[in-house]
Symmetry: D2
């Protein structure tokens, strides 16, 4: 099923695959399981899209160890969160990022999500991090769309900006974000890529129709149970299963019924897509 899912996404035109999402079930994965997922992903991709590992560790020591392993496994890039389980201050967070960046030649995308992880990577901190050549991108999840403009004003094209919040992705792409680290792409890869490609071609009306249709589904991405919700969506589009690991439990009762209703309504009213695959942009947001 992992193979089918990765393959469907790459076929739809995504430019990269990220393994080990931190709001996902990564914290329940053993090291050998991560290795297996990375190696398997690389094999399935077969060079069509880079495979990236998310680094979300509580100590600098553990993070360095994980990064070294990622390199050994031939991972092609890193997504990097501030330290987990401690609200590090600016100096500590920057030191943490630098220690990791200096230890590897892999390209790094900083994951900036103060809503879920409390630590905000501020513009001043990005200024400091600009010295690290391999920190090349940011997953922008501050939920403030104007942060795209602030980043562009301050850094021009120094950092690739990838929107990390499904429900505001089209807005951020329109204002200059370079990419979209999507959630519902797992269940609806074609629609996700269609919006991205249409916006790049300034075909706003067509993109808006798909985005409006998509919104009730995209909202599943900003809930604590996004894993269960997106997996249920994947089950309905034949790209995954509902299975989760404890402490997560499979949805039940009224909640499952309600979410299933949203998903099935979406599937029943799927918009027709333009021939977007033929227009796949040649450059990857992450290369």
């Amino acid at each position: 099923m992992f193979e089918k899912s990765v393959d469907a996404q790459i076929n739809a035109g995504v430019h990269g695959i990220i393994i080990g999402g931190s709001l996902g079930e990564a914290s329940t994965l053993m090291t050998n399981e991560k290795e297996e997922l990375i190696k398997s992903g690389i094999k399935i991709s077969a060079g069509r899209a880079p495979v990236v590992l998310n680094i979300a560790e509580a100590s600098t020591k553990d993070a360095l160890k994980q990064v070294a392993l990622a390199k050994q496994w031939s991972t092609q890039g890193l997504m990097l969160l501030p330290p987990m389980r401690y609200k590090a201050d600016e100096r500590e967070t920057v030191e943490y990022f630098k220690a990791i960046a200096d230890s590897t030649d892999l390209p790094i995308m900083i994951y900036n999500n103060p809503v879920d992880y409390k630590i905000e990577v501020t513009l001043d901190m990005f200024e400091e991090l600009a010295k690290c050549k391999n920190i090349t991108a940011v997953k922008e999840s501050t939920r403030e769309v104007s942060n795209v403009t602030r980043m562009k004003n301050r850094f021009g094209d120094r950092y690739k900006i990838l929107c990390g919040v499904d429900t505001i992705a089209m807005e951020e792409l329109l204002l200059g974000a370079d990419g979209w680290v999507a959630g519902l792409v797992n269940a609806f890869p074609m629609e996700t890529v269609a919006i991205y490609e249409l916006v790049r071609q300034s075909r706003i009306e067509e993109a808006t129709i798909i985005y409006r249709w998509f919104m009730p589904l995209l909202e599943l991405d900003i809930h604590p149970k996004l894993v269960q919700y997106i997996k249920l969506a994947q089950a309905q589009t034949a790209l995954g299963t509902e299975y989760v690991r404890a402490p997560r439990l499979i949805l039940s009762g009224e909640e499952r019924k309600k979410i299933l209703g949203t998903i099935d309504d979406g599937i029943a009213s799927r918009p027709s897509l333009p021939e977007h695959l033929g227009i796949r942009s040649k450059t990857s947001a992450y290369a």
Copy 2:
């Protein structure tokens, strides 16, 4: 100065003038001062743009009284907040809005700002309010850009949506908002209107250049001291003065210096505008 300011805005192409902004100094105005401002505004506008009064009262009785006065003064529309000074629940808020809407034939724009006023007007409440024919628009200030999409999905074109937060206006206009109740328009009317008109023509790149330039100034709109900040900007663009009424105090020291720096930087780097006045759209967002 009031005359000069209103005239400059209408000449720049705004489609309406709102008097008595509630985050502004309206709460320091006496009734006779409101009357004077409304009547003066109508005279200056001379039919070029409707003049609207903001209703922000603590009791239903006071609000009804104010609305009746507005009508007597020939006000052409109302902006309407939930009750002040009490966190009314859904039933109470809807009853309040209905009581006011039923008392007048003036068109009403609901001002939805749960961040500053605690009460959110939810989609379900707008469903209920759809029965009131003269509630025709919403000033959308929830700070959630996706709310534009949610409103469009639920109500189609039943309500005109006007963005009420300067820093996310271009994003919301791109996604289908009908207008922009702007703040920095008081100091920079041409640039504000230019962005609005360019977006309506899908000239995104040109709009983005102006919007990025504008952002540091637009951020002055989302601060508790927006009145002092915008007035200082107006003073610098010769469209107003710094004078405020107590408890507000005129800016001083480091704070004034910093804000002045932002404003003067903006003025020094003003972008050239397209010949947008010739392209003023014929329909008013508020008629």
Copy 3:
């Protein structure tokens, strides 16, 4: 009914009466109604307890006007909030307080409630306000019980501290608060005074029994609908009616049933009180 209510409270042993609570219905009162309430309160009290007016205005000018009227009406003290409807900064808030304090010889209690009114009166601001001799007390509603200790450490007995949050009153009295500006006292004056007096005598076990019984009722005080809830409680203890002014609506349906259940449970299990009236302390917290 106003007479009965005030009389019941003074008979129970309260040391002061405050008119015009700002989370109450004061914002729906006309000036002449305030005058009537103050004058009537003074008459009923007949010197047994001072009558205090709450000042909650949006402009310095309006506040000064209201304070002058209060003096004319023979009000014996003022409770004073930061400016309404504007998040004044420290300098502005202190200037506001000073302007009012300097205009009158009435004793003033600052009402410090950053949760409901956004502006916190910090220790540094109280330092500045210490110059105003007639600012003698603070209604402590920050919800942080440790603020009592912080105030005592910084100011000793310079300010009387009166707890403004029913649900943490016993804790604050135990740690040195001088009084309690109570909410449920309107419906349960005897029990409120009993806790206050028992704590002053270090009879903690007896006070705890009453306080635990009282807690589900005291929680009615920290809800946006405290007016409706407390009025319903007063109706049940024959010290008031349910009537409220719009935009507030009388409770209905499930909500009314639930609150009524809490109130009736409380009444049915009222604890026996010690002979506390005989032990009424001779000094008023507010004189």
Copy 4:
């Protein structure tokens, strides 16, 4: 130094030692380091106070594994957090707690800290957990002092309540909390125990003097850098060192100077303590 610290606390009269505090550096500890700390703690205690391990894991599987190890190491009790890194809902959190409680015969104290960990263990959830005989206590860190009264009203003595927030400990002990999981006890064990014992004897005035003196130090416990702050305090009272593991960094510059000032002021004005050791209560809050 670990030996000296544990010994000092037990000599001062604490009733238990908790290893692996989750806001502490536990997330940087390897399993074998935890084992060493537990075994060493048990040896130093030599039966004078139980040694408890904090369980803060991201998956049920990892938590069960850790609990089994704790038992092997002869740990005498567990402190248990909701799952880390996932905002489990009520059903999931209760299932998680039950799975762990059912797997062991060790007594368990639930750590209820929604401020730092987002998940609140509600009264209804405690109702459900009452079925687990070995869940015997709660570390109450909701920051709401009235929660002590709510818990007592609902559950009587079913759960021991231990205050988990230094700055509100005296208030909660006065209202019936059974114990205090203290932070600054690491640097000031005698003063911490003195307050606890004096409150139990209703010697409120004496306790208040110590508590007021203690407050500026206790506030070090409610800051993200509590580890660095408390370690600096321990260094100054010769009960520890400043050393921390990355991503934490040792304090420097103005921040270190300021905190050191607070600590040294506290040491310079240490209050004399009553002969409290002679009055050590015979029963442990945790047995």
